[in-house]
């Protein structure tokens, strides 16, 4: 009797989502230990705006990973969109039009990844390993070593514009996108197809899911999100540089995996990704508060990624054994 109780207790605790809760608690504790200013609500919000673009990319990235694909070119695509927008504006296009064209450009970048992956049936990891280098290099060709800025006043500072008097506009956008994408993922036919593609692609194919079309759509959505993130990025900095968001794919992958999405596809949620975004931001805040060097911060995030993927993989397997 007691054994069974123990087992159900273990079952309740050893869920993939528990890692997230554990890390959330750990990050808050370490943050409080790092500095008394840590629990300042306004400070946390302000810090969140500094990483919000990666969070936005991570939402759409969750869909891609659930469907069994991956895209490690996201940070490069985001910054290429930023540089593209900056160049367009400096050619004299009105900012409103620049934003619209850049979003389309972002979709195009995503579709390039999607088309190369689906039509050639080459692993998306390899294709995006190439486009990661290609997109970043194109950004470097567009902008060179310097930076391009001088945007209109209304456009700059999305992180300082407040909604409802306290919430930075960029975080508001983030929350709206999470809600929309979670509803699409969990409540629509399209969302069920995304899960089906990642769980078993053959079964999905035979039950009438048009794999090519749906994967293209997913890569297009991810491209749109990198476009949005690219626009928000230059609004926050007020300028575009080719080196913005360098290494951002590491943060994005860490957030999505930490949020409980399985690397092998078929499982995951955008709410989980959003919570994991919070964890990563809290850890980054504590590291910045104790003046940790950027290289060491990267190391900690790298370590977090490895630990997360090990633990969540174990827990997924444990859950499968017991269900």
């Amino acid at each position: 009797m007691k054994k069974i109780e123990n087992k159900s207790l273990a079952k309740a605790i050893l869920k993939p989502g528990s890692v997230l809760v554990l890390f959330l608690i750990l990050s808050v504790v370490s943050g409080v230990l790092a500095s008394p200013h840590f629990l300042d609500f306004e400070y946390i919000l302000a810090a969140m705006t500094q990483y919000i673009e990666l969070g936005i990319v991570a939402i759409a990235f969750t869909f891609i990973l659930i469907s069994g694909e991956i895209d490690i070119s996201v940070a490069s695509a985001m910054t290429l969109s930023s540089c593209f927008a900056a160049i367009l504006y400096n050619y004299g296009l009105p900012m409103g039009l620049v934003i619209a064209v850049t979003l389309l450009f972002g979709i195009l970048l995503g579709l390039i990844n999607g088309a190369l992956t689906t039509f050639t049936k080459i692993n998306s990891l390899i294709i995006t390993l190439g486009t990661m280098s290609l997109y970043r290099g194109l950004a470097q060709i567009l902008i060179g070593k310097g930076s391009v800025g001088d945007f209109p006043e209304w456009f700059v500072g999305i992180d300082r514009t407040k909604v409802f008097g306290f919430l930075p506009l960029s975080i508001f956008v983030f929350i709206v996108l999470i809600v929309i994408m979670e509803v699409i993922l969990k409540q629509t036919f399209f969302g069920r197809k995304v899960f089906a593609m990642g769980t078993n692609d053959k079964v999905a194919l035979y039950s009438g899911v048009k794999m090519h079309k749906n994967k293209l759509v997913l890569f297009g959505i991810l491209g749109l999100f990198t476009g949005i993130a690219g626009i928000m990025q230059i609004s926050r900095y007020g300028l575009a540089k080719y080196s913005l968001g360098l290494g951002g794919e590491l943060d994005v992958i860490t957030m999505v995996l930490l949020g409980g999405t399985a690397f092998s596809g078929g499982r995951g949620s955008t709410i989980g990704t959003a919570l994991a975004f919070l964890v990563v931001v809290l850890i980054k805040i504590s590291m910045t508060l104790i003046n940790m060097e950027r290289m060491i911060q990267l190391m900690i995030i790298g370590l977090l990624l490895v630990v997360t993927i090990i633990i969540s993989d174990r827990l997924h397997k444990y859950q499968d054994l017991n269900s």
């Binding site: 692993n123 790298g302 990624l305 490895v306």
Partner: protein
Amino acid sequence: MSELVKQKKKISITSVRELGLVAIILILYVVVGLIEPRFFSFRVVMSIMLSTPILIIVALGEMTAIISRNVEVSLGSIMAFSAIIGGMIFKSNIDFPIVVVFLVATVVGGLLGLLNGTIVTLFSLPSVIVTLGTMNVYRGLMFVLMDAKQIDNMYIPRNLIKLAQPQESIIGIPYIIIISIGVAVLVSIILNQTKIGREIYAVGSNPDAARLRGIGVNKVKIIVFIFAGACSGFAGMIYMARVGYVNPVTTGVGMEFMAVAAAVIGGTSMAGGSGKTLGTVLGCILLGLMMTSISYLGIEGSAQKAMYGLIIIIAVVLEKIIKSKLGKEGR
């Protein structure tokens, strides 16, 4: 009979690729030389040759990993880490025997590779994600180890630097080029003539079949990771000889992507199970030629990164198209 024909066909296809690469290299060299006559000189040929040994050694390690169906993106970090350890030994005693330091750097690289391989096999995780993590972990570690400082030129023994200088060699060819050719021959022998070499190909082309044939798949994978790491550690010493300093932030950044590009250009299939030493070496020479051409033609260095990406994509897509065409003919 039909199998014999098929086999003959296979051989001719693979050698066609290598001959094609040689042709591309020669054509590119002549074209660039016609635009910029300074290119036709022994000095330029030497500088092209000198730009490849580091890449060749890392790329051969990467190729072995790709053959076994893994991608190692922490090799640039491993190379820098090993070079830093070697540099620290020289910093404490510049007269330390160079051969021993070579050995230490190779072992350090092998150990870091072992760590990657252990994580990948123990938890059966995708190697790219694991090494993406350890790439940053290793780089952060050496940053801490060096306290953000670099190993300056003054700490590196002259005898090591001499390995990269043509005028210091008795046969006129810098020793690091000879060393890299030696490594290539060694890798070729290991992959083609030994049991473990055949097992690496078997694991890469079909892991399940390899397991059924009694091959310890995880053991083979770990050996591959150790080997790739050891190659990169060894390359770290060549880097020190050629470049003359080691920096924890910049050394070896992006090396892994060049290595993947070189291997893929050389005909290594990203699906695993195939890849040839000669092809990878030719891929490295092509990349080295491209880099030298870029600087001689006055094209901005910023185009380089985009080019590597484009090369990887074009190479894998072409590979796929050629393979599917051949597959249809076969049926």
